[in-house]
């Protein structure tokens, strides 16, 4: 297996992200030294607009490459334009090349493509949010870190090999540690950065340990079976070796447990969630939005690919309510069902007493991880059709989750810019101070709470359907009950916005580009909710790959 020239267009979005990151970093050098407010704003906007433009262009290129919006017919006339499109789409998920991962390490299938699109779009919306904000120190570095982290997330989404996985996770996380602690003079931000780093480092250790156990198992199996010792870290290769070895051993199970725990930190699954409320609260708000959405999307896609390609023998069943004895533990879906149960309960209950809006949303985001896990749990279904519903519901949920969270944190950021606080009380009377913003906020919050016809509702509904069909009816009932609990704290946010009178009637302005970002998110929330079939047809493509 060799890297061929035809593989270059397959990783074009990643290459472009790297170029953009360097460009943004380099452009900072050419800005004049800023020591007045006006100059600082100019410097900030220069970097922000370059990053936003670049990300927007990469998003468009990735969209063309994916062929989801427009697929060039085979008999299209040959001219300059169609050549570009054809070359792009030849590297896309629909081409024959996409069936095998590059060097066995980086898959460029539909799953990766959807991951890329979501992650790049999230980065784009985040950057757009920060354009009109108070200038940050060293904006060039700020945006370079965001883009670098985005690159890592794209690699996570496509990674199909253990070492690649680790590198991608680190490439994603290290910039995020720095970004979380970006406000050096703010105690909470510093604490957030430090805490995120320490927890992240520990989770990386756990992940590596799981990888080494899995590798150890694969290598032993290769020796006993007398096959070659090549490519032992590839997901596919490990699966083959496990399948040939017959009964999986405790070693493999242990390796898988550590892998789940390691990624569990990234997706804030209880009991690995402890870091997230502090980090979400302390980090700069747009970074919180970015961490809560994009990094979770990438991690969930990675978790899905890792578990379904590497450990199909250990899939298990999700109808076990609580695996009391070791003998009832039948595989990772049972484990994830249990984790989903804990996550739903803890996330939703812990959100109830919060007084800080960002902290409340951090717990809400933990709770959403529980719903997302239900999509993975559906993999225990016996029919391929139902398993496909599981992955489709997971991906739909990820998309919906991303747009609504970006939106809700975005509104908090706008208010925060004006009031310099993110307590729930600063939202008091927002409806009188800025009705448009209040309406957007209501849309996002209702979507988070799962109210039709917004996309958050369909996401939950679809996940419930998938889990129900996989035999996890008990989990669906838990999910519904916790949804009602969650409604209480979401309504508390709306109570502040609409019912509680404000201290002052001074209007809160919404700067232009922040508003653009929020309106885009809100439109997506509504349109995806009203017409889920648009995105379901795209997601259908994934099933062909994942349904193995």
């Amino acid at each position: 297996m060799q890297f061929a020239l035809t593989d270059v267009p397959r990783i074009l979005p990643e290459i472009l992200l790297l170029v953009l990151a360097l460009l943004v970093l380099g452009s900072d050098v050419f800005e004049r030294w800023a020591n007045t407010d006006a100059a600082r704003t100019e410097q900030h906007r220069a970097s922000a607009s370059l990053a936003a433009l670049g990300l927007g262009m990469i998003l468009i290129i990735a969209l063309i490459q994916s062929g989801y919006v427009y697929r060039l017919p085979d008999d299209a006339p040959i001219n300059f334009l169609t050549n570009i499109v054809r070359n792009l789409q030849n590297g896309g998920p629909a081409s024959e090349l996409a069936t095998t991962p590059i060097l066995g390490a980086f898959a460029t299938d539909d799953l990766t493509m959807i991951g890329r699109l979501v992650v790049i779009a999230a980065a784009f919306l985040t950057v757009l949010l920060t354009y009109d904000a108070r200038p940050t120190a060293n904006p060039g570095e700020f945006y370079t870190l965001i883009i670098g982290s985005t690159l890592g997330m794209c690699l996570m989404a496509g990674s199909s090999e253990l070492i690649m996985t680790f590198l991608a996770i680190e490439l994603t996380s290290i910039p995020l540690y720095v970004l979380a602690g970006y406000f050096r003079n703010d105690r909470q931000s510093t604490e957030a950065g430090m805490k995120y780093f320490l927890f992240g480092a520990m989770s990386s250790g756990i992940l590596l340990y799981g990888m080494s156990l899995t590798y150890g198992y694969a290598a032993t199996a290769a020796v006993t079976q007398g096959s070659t010792g090549n490519n032992l870290t590839q997901f596919e290769r490990i699966r083959e070796l496990v399948a040939q070895a017959g009964e999986p051993t405790v070693l493999l199970t242990l390796g898988m447990l550590f892998l789940i725990a390691g990624i569990g930190y990234k997706v804030t699954v209880v009991p690995f969630h402890g870091w997230s409320p502090d980090v979400y609260q302390g980090a700069p708000t747009p970074i919180t939005a970015f961490i809560a959405t994009a990094s979770k999307v990438a991690s969930f896609i990675l978790l899905f690919r890792l578990l379904t390609t590497t450990f199909p023998v250990l899939t298990g069943a999700a109808d076990v309510i609580i695996p009391v004895e070791a003998s009832t533990f039948t595989g990772w879906t049972s484990l994830l069902a249990l984790l989903a149960f804990l996550t739903l309960i803890v996330g939703n209950l812990a959100a109830l007493p919060q007084t800080n809006a960002k902290r409340l949303l951090a717990y809400s985001s933990i709770a959403h991880a529980g719903f997302l896990l239900m999509g993975l749990v559906a993999w225990s279904a016996s029919l391929a059709m139902d398993r496909e519903a599981g992955i489709a519901s997971l991906l739909y949920y990820l998309v919906a989750y991303t747009v609504m969270n970006l939106g809700v944190f975005g509104v908090l950021y706008v208010v925060d810019q004006h009031t310099r606080s993110d307590e729930i009380s600063v939202l008091n009377g927002l409806a009188r101070r800025n009705l448009g913003l209040a309406v957007l906020f209501t849309i996002f919050v209702f979507s988070l709470a799962g109210i039709p016809p917004l996309s958050g509702f369909f996401a939950k509904f679809y996940v419930f359907m998938a889990a129900w069909q996989a035999g996890a009816e008990w989990l669906v009932i838990v999910g519904l009950i916790t949804t009602i609990i969650s409604l209480y704290y979401y309504l508390r946010l709306l109570r502040a916005v609409f019912i509680v009178p404000p201290d002052t009637d001074a209007p809160i302005p919404t700067p232009r580009w922040m508003a653009t970002s929020l309106v885009l998110s809100a439109l997506l929330v509504i349109v995806l909710g009203l017409f889920p079939n648009i995105i379901l047809t795209i997601i259908d493509n994934v099933q062909a790959v994942a349904g193995r």
Partner: protein, 500 residues
């Protein structure tokens, strides 16, 4: 033969719910200072929706029966979800009821001036949801509209309400959402249990093939989920608190149509799609509704706050509806649908008189503090008497036919329960007469109440419309019963085939 015929090319039912969504969007684009314009747009479109639903009502062919004005389009084909609308004799009266209540409710909302733009938008969105529920024949679509109808209530009560509004709003929302979550469990059970992978209610009802044990397990969440909104004992406590806290038009919509959504869901979804489960569980339901009917009426007897009294009378009257559904005979279900209509109009009138005409002028609803209003506003007194007589089941008014049919129907299946429930009739008469005496005829306690501003034309016209319907249906009930019965007969037959 129907009175009029409508072109089949026009999607009438979609127009009905769109005629509420369009003004909601329109009003968002108007500056909030244009009070009169917003009021006229809201009321005007409410009238349009009423006219549209009346057109459909008179163009429906009761002899032919079945679902008419059917509209159908694929929505999410991957999951078997479609946009599927249609009306029969059961939901058509509900549609018209909603038309009348929203139009008169809009007239009663002219006094709201604080943050009125938001008020009207929420009110219209709520009505969109109600119309949508009554016309949808797809379970998913039904559920989407159902939630759309419930949620705006939180803000409507929380912002524009009165007594303990935040508590009332939160309690109401959590109760109703809990109900809809349970209903969702049942809906998923129907979807997967049937194996058809479709949310099309008509197809699901025709192919009820899941086992008796399965229905036994999943009928309770499905039925109870909707029964929460119908105010069934012991899930009724949200209803009086919510009614009292809500502004007048919202109380009208809420007691007038929203609670009917619950009863309609019980019938159209739970009983229709799970006949075996219904067979096993309906006796339990019937026993519970006795508490509704009798206990609700006796509690109404001791209330000092007039709105609380009407709230508990709603619990009692809706209990009759659910009791009739539980009896599940041809006569009783006909009576249930008729009672939903009659009670909707009657409560609307009650709230219009007590909440709008009296409370907005006196700023108290405590019965002992009121008195002598009969001399100040004789019109309000007359309206209250008409509503009250209908509530007591006086012949010549709509309520009589409804309650009469219900008691006959229930007697067929549960004679003992019917006998106990009849106790509620004298109690109802007692509390209504007591309130009538207290508010309008007792000696005036507070002389300040003898000098009140006159009624506005909106109040008068709204009340006259509602009273006229009570009388019209009381004199000529066949206009409703014929079409209701036409649709109930096949439904009951199907239930018997399905095991009931």
């Amino acid at each position: 033969m129907p009175l009029i015929s409508l072109s089949p090319d026009i999607p009438w039912l979609s127009l009905v719910w769109l005629s509420m969504l369009v003004p909601a969007l329109l009003i968002t684009a108007i500056p909030g200072t244009q009070h009169t314009l917003i009021r006229w747009i809201g009321t005007g479109f409410a009238f349009v929706s009423l006219v549209l639903s009346l057109l459909v009502f008179f163009a429906y062919d009761p002899v032919q029966g079945g679902f008419q004005f059917v509209e159908r389009a694929a929505w999410v084909p991957q999951l078997g979800i479609s946009y599927y609308l249609g009306v029969d004799g059961i939901n058509l009266p509900m549609l018209v009821l909603n038309g009348f209540i929203i139009f008169t409710g809009a007239l009663m909302s002219w006094n709201i001036s604080e943050r009125m733009k938001e008020y009207w938008v929420l009110l219209l969105i709520l009505t969109t949801g109600v119309y949508g529920v009554f016309v949808s024949l797809d379970l998913f679509l039904f559920f989407v509209f159902y939630e759309l109808a419930v949620l705006p209530m939180y803000l409507l009560i929380g912002v524009w309400g009165s007594t303990r509004r935040e508590y009332g709003a939160m309690k109401l929302t959590l109760f109703l959402m809990a109900g809809s979550a349970f209903a969702l469990i049942g809906i998923l059970a129907v979807y997967f249990g049937s194996g058809l992978r479709t949310f099309d209610m008509v197809r699901l009802a025709e192919n009820v093939n899941f086992s008796r044990a399965y229905q036994f397990a999943f009928f309770p969440p499905l039925f109870a989920g909707f029964a929460v909104l119908a105010g069934m004992f012991p899930f009724h406590t949200w209803s009086p608190t919510g009614h009292v806290a809500a502004p007048t038009a919202v109380s009208m919509l809420h007691a007038g149509v929203l609670m009917k959504l619950g009863a309609y869901g019980c019938l159209r979804v739970a009983i229709w799609l799970m006949p075996h489960g219904a067979n096993d569980w309906l006796p339990v339901v019937a026993v519970l509704t006795v508490f509704n009917v009798v206990y609700g009426a006796t509690i109404a007897m001791v209330q000092r706050d007039a709105k609380f009294m009407i709230g508990y009378s709603s619990v009692s009257h809706m209990g009759l509806v659910v009791m009739a559904l539980a009896a599940a005979t041809e006569i009783s279900i006909t009576g249930a649908v008729l009672q939903m209509f009659a009670h909707g109009i009657m409560t609307g009138l009650f709230f219009a008189v007590v909440g709008r005409m009296v409370y907005e002028r006196t700023h108290t609803r405590q019965l002992p503090e009121l008195g002598g209003l009969g001399r100040v506003m004789p019109f309000a007194a007359v309206m209250f008497i008409i509503a009250g007589l209908s509530g007591m089941g006086m012949p010549g008014l709509a309520g009589f036919w409804a309650e009469f049919t219900i008691f006959i129907g229930v007697w067929e299946r549960y004679p003992l329960i019917a006998v106990i429930a009849v106790i509620s009739i004298p109690v109802t008469a007692a509390y209504i007469l007591r309130a009538m005496y207290r508010v309008f005829y007792a000696e005036a306690v507070n002389p300040a109440l003898l000098n009140l501003p006159p009624l506005t034309w909106q109040e008068i016209s709204g009340a006259v419309i509602l009273a006229a319907i009570l009388i019209a249906v009381g004199i000529y009930p066949t206009i409703l019963t014929e079409m209701i019965n036409q649709s109930v007969v096949p439904l009951v037959q199907q239930l018997e085939l399905g095991g009931l």
